[in-house]
């Protein structure tokens, strides 16, 4: 089980009066095993939404809850994949993945099995004993995803996880994530500014306004994906060529462009 709920959430940075209002009345429900992407102009507070679910920031008012329990602090039930990977450079790939399991006080034998499974899942077996700096950016992000998946979290929080990767690696990782989501579905909150990525990956896409960020509209991608049978295509470029995909993408683009236009940016 892993549902996420934002209930009348505001976030103000700095002093409560006279601070910068980053988020304004965010209301969003993400169901168990649902993949929701948030897109929005930079600085709109989409990452802040994720950080509140992770427990890194408290809301200024309103409630962020996971499975009906208000979030108070970070924890392994809400695994985070960071844009800059945030691996521990002094630990090997295996040790990076193992840390969360050790923190759960699992027995060595059980941990070894789970780590081996995570390494296999992300095609990292031959790099198990490498240090992060010996790996490419794409491989490092695989480690970060393995580190998150191995915890068997209720929800997976991904903060522009492919933003630091080059275009080719990015596509490979996007396809990989779709494969993962099919094998091992999770509740996912995915932050991105890449519209195509959001449409390709998500069940629903939430579009945010400029600061103070509000949720402007939420588009249902899942029903279109099912109706047009996107999943019969293996490759991302084939999906992106479909008329229904292009239509949704353009719809989101226009919505985002209005945001920029409205403020003359």
């Amino acid at each position: 089980m892993g549902s996420i709920r934002f209930d009348k959430v505001d976030k103000v940075f700095g002093p409560v009066s006279g601070g910068v209002k980053a988020l304004d009345d965010i209301n969003l429900e993400i169901a168990d095993k649902e993949f929701v992407a948030i897109v929005g102009p930079s600085g709109c507070g989409k990452t802040t939404c994720l950080r509140m679910v992770a427990g890194f920031e408290p809301p200024s008012s309103g409630i962020v809850s996971v499975n009906g329990r208000a979030v108070t602090r970070p924890g392994p039930d809400r695994a985070v994949v960071f844009q800059q990977f945030a691996l521990f450079p002094w630990k090997t790939v295996r040790e990076n993945i193992d840390l969360g399991l050790r923190n759960k006080n699992l027995a060595k034998g059980e941990r070894d099995g789970l780590v081996a499974g995570a390494l296999k899942l992300m095609n990292l077996e031959s790099h198990a004993d490498a240090f992060p700096h010996q790996l490419s950016g794409g491989m490092q992000q695989r480690v970060a995803i393995a580190r998150a998946y191995v915890l068997d979290p209720e929800v997976l929080l991904m903060d522009e996880p492919f933003g630091a990767l080059d275009a080719q690696t990015r596509v490979v990782m996007q396809e990989e994530l779709v494969r993962l989501a099919r094998v091992n579905p999770r509740t996912v909150l995915f932050i991105t500014h890449a519209v195509e990525e959001a449409v390709y990956l998500a069940d629903r896409v939430a579009i945010m306004t400029r600061r103070p960020g509000r949720i402007k509209e939420v588009l249902d991608v899942r029903s279109v994906r099912a109706a047009e049978n996107w999943d019969r295509h293996e490759r991302i470029e084939d999906v992106m060529d479909l008329e229904s995909f292009v239509h949704l993408r353009t719809q989101i683009w226009k919505s985002l462009r209005e945001e920029k236009g409205a403020h003359g940016a």
Binding site: P74, P76, F82, A86, F88, L99, R147
Partner: protein, 261 residues
């Protein structure tokens, strides 16, 4: 970087040392600098053999050197064993920082050497006073760099560890300390330098053995050759202990790309 480059650079280094030695020989042999002011290579060699074979100031060179190294190592270890944990704690815990920083700011401007009279008054001319003074001198860079090391850790590293449910003690030993390690080692190098500076000064003022004591005796005997032997010995010992520390650093930070150069 190619091997040819490294080879080329070490040749340049050797050449400049050779040039310095030649210059030394030249200015003393020609009488440009009188033997009373600066010893010639021959004087230096005579002094070196005298202290090595027959002893000077109550002992052989090896005995004096070992005495100094022993005190530096002991003072340094006491200083870093207390300084690094304190720095880590101050970096991690805002309340600890708030409590300790003001005290630190008051004590810090006092030059370590100014503690020597008090240390001798308390602990006499023996080892204890020197270890205490080295402790005060070497403590500060250890604390400050460990503290800064913690403060400079990328926030996502800490957040990733929190997200993984890392308990408090493991957070310090497996996340905070290794993440701050490059800065901690910078602090250790400065602490080691401070240890040598302080020890030699303390031995100059009040000691019964050690390289500083040799220097003090040689000055009283107006013995330039022996003064130079003492200075060179301190230089060699300082270089050797720093090299040992660098070796430890390379091993401890093998994971660190920046440390690999």
């Amino acid at each position: 970087m190619g091997n040819a480059m490294i080879g080329g650079r070490s040749w340049i280094g050797l050449a400049s040392v050779a040039a310095l030695l030649l210059l030394w020989f030249g200015v003393t042999a020609t009488g440009l600098v009188s033997a009373g002011r600066f010893p010639s290579p021959a004087d230096f060699w005579l002094s070196l053999t005298q202290i090595s074979l027959r002893g000077y100031a109550g002992g052989g060179l090896l005995a004096h050197a070992l005495q100094s190294v022993k005190l530096v190592v002991m003072g340094f270890l006491v200083a870093i064993a207390t300084g690094v944990p304190l720095g880590l704690w101050m970096g991690w815990d805002r309340r600890a920082e708030a409590a300790i920083n003001p005290v630190f700011l008051i004590i810090r401007p006092i030059p370590p050497l100014a503690w020597i009279p008090l240390a001798i008054l308390w602990l006499g001319l023996g080892d204890g006073a020197k270890i205490m003074v080295i402790w005060f001198a070497a403590f500060v860079p250890s604390v400050i760099n460990a503290y800064a090391g913690v403060r400079n850790i990328d926030r996502p590293i800490i957040e990733a560890a929190q997200m993984l449910g890392t308990p408090r003690w493991r957070m310090i030993t497996e996340i905070i300390a290794p993440a701050a390690a490059p800065m901690i080692f910078t602090g250790l190098r400065l602490s080691l330098q401070a240890s040598w500076t302080t020890l030699v000064a303390a031995e100059l003022v009040g000691a019964l053995a050690g390289i500083g004591f040799v220097l003090n005796m040689a000055q009283q005997d107006i013995y330039p050759g022996m003064i130079l032997v003492g200075m060179v010995t301190v230089g060699v010992l300082g270089w050797a202990t720093t090299a040992a520390l660098s070796l430890a650093e390379r091993r401890a930070l093998a994971w660190n790309v920046a440390g690999r150069d």
